[in-house]
């Protein structure tokens, strides 16, 4: 099953379950408070996911390692390489 198909299936199942409970075609079976919460759930989950995404990307951005040492090491090795290659007869 492709990822798209997985998502569609998941959304269909969750959406169907939510619609069945919210619109309640078989008559009232949930307390009013519960029904109000359920009605708002999709929007609430969407907003929660949005916040999670922003927080995650923000955290990962902030902790993205900046490899100053790697760059300096590379510079030093480039100089060393130039010298060694010249000694071995390499003509730049």
């Amino acid at each position: 099953m492709t990822k798209l198909a997985e998502w569609l299936l998941g959304l269909a199942l969750l959406g169907g379950g939510w619609a069945a409970l919210t619109f309640d075609p078989l008559g009232p079976s949930l307390p009013e408070a519960g029904r109000q919460l359920l009605w708002a759930l999709p929007a609430y989950l969407l907003v929660a996911f949005g916040c999670y995404s922003l927080a995650t990307v923000g955290y990962r951005l902030a902790t993205f390692n900046d490899c100053q040492a790697a760059s300096e090491e590379l510079q030093a090795q480039i100089r060393e390489a130039h010298g060694d290659l010249a000694r071995r007869g390499f003509r730049f």
């Binding site: 990822k3 798209l4 993205f64 390489a81």
Partner: protein
């Protein structure tokens, strides 16, 4: 010990040529010579086959400045680690004379270590890999960038990781452990992390860095994957990992540092982002 072997091999070759030209009489003699040479070769070859051999593929285009440096680093770290290796330089007809530089390196380090397999013009990364694999005598293939953004010092770590878990693929990651990047501004880092997040949510690939191109593959695994992949650019590297998961290959990760010295020249523009998203959606819908 090495020299007599080579001499034997050369003699066998010329004998075979003469045998082919001369017919049956030459054939008998060449068989015995070949057997002799091939006993030597298979003796040595068997020793080498028992160990692992790592073929490094270096597709190059206008890397006249960087090629000697990357080769020097590769030789240094491989010699230090003692692993058997070869470096295959696949130059796509660079106008700046990269091939001449490669020939000099072949002179210095030997044509058993530096293999030149150039192509006439710029033909793309996927075909460069295929071309490289065809000439690789190793059982493992390492792909990397030739512009010094990938550092050969991580290759022994890749090899160690591969042996640890018997992985089919080992991928270098900039996003985990002490991996990271140098030379990117905040905007570039944000795009990178953002794109990676979207990719993780949509594809759940089981690997942290999908657009990275510093990886170790078993040769037959790389061959299989390149045949199956259809995308270009960043998405090509992503597709390789996604297809590897599909085919149930095991993937290990090693943190790497990525030193970007060309970012100043090649900004990541709207076009690249759009084509990345298109490619991502295509993978989302088809894998």
């Amino acid at each position: 010990m090495f020299a007599p072997c080579r001499a034997q091999a050369v003699r066998a070759d010329t004998f075979i040529l003469r045998a082919a030209a001369g017919g049956i009489v030459g054939g008998e003699a060449s068989t015995s010579c070949r057997r002799g040479a091939s006993n030597m070769a298979s003796g040595e070859g068997a020793e080498r086959r028992r160990g692992d051999r790592y073929s490094v593929l270096l597709p190059t285009y206008n890397e006249r400045e960087n090629l000697p440096l990357i080769v020097w680093l590769l030789v240094r770290y491989f010699d230090e680690s003692g692993f058997d290796y070869e470096i295959i330089v696949i130059d796509d007809g660079s106008p700046d004379g990269t091939l001449e530089v490669a020939k000099q390196l072949e002179q210095i380090y030997g044509s058993d270590k530096i293999l030149l397999r150039p192509r006439a013009k710029k033909l793309g990364l996927g075909t460069a890999y295929i071309h490289g694999i065809q000439h690789a005598t190793g059982n493992f293939v390492i792909i990397m960038d030739a512009d010094l953004s990938h550092h050969p010092k991580f290759i022994p770590e890749f090899i160690k990781k591969q042996k640890e878990g018997n992985y089919d693929v080992v991928s270098g990651t900039r996003y985990r452990g002490d991996g990271g990047v140098f030379g990117w501004d905040l905007r570039r880092k944000l795009i990178s992390r953002g794109a990676n997040f979207v990719t993780q949510v949509l594809l759940r690939p089981g690997a942290s860095d999908l657009t990275g191109s510093f990886r170790l593959y078993r040769k037959e695994v790389l061959q299989k994957l390149v045949e199956k992949c259809v995308s270009k650019g960043y998405v090509f590297q992503m597709e390789m990992i996604v297809r590897a998961r599909q085919l149930n290959y095991s993937i290990g990760e090693v943190p790497i540092t990525f030193v970007d010295r060309v970012y100043g020249e090649s900004k990541l523009g709207g076009n690249e982002i759009v084509s990345f998203l298109k490619g991502l959606l295509h993978l989302f819908a088809t894998t």
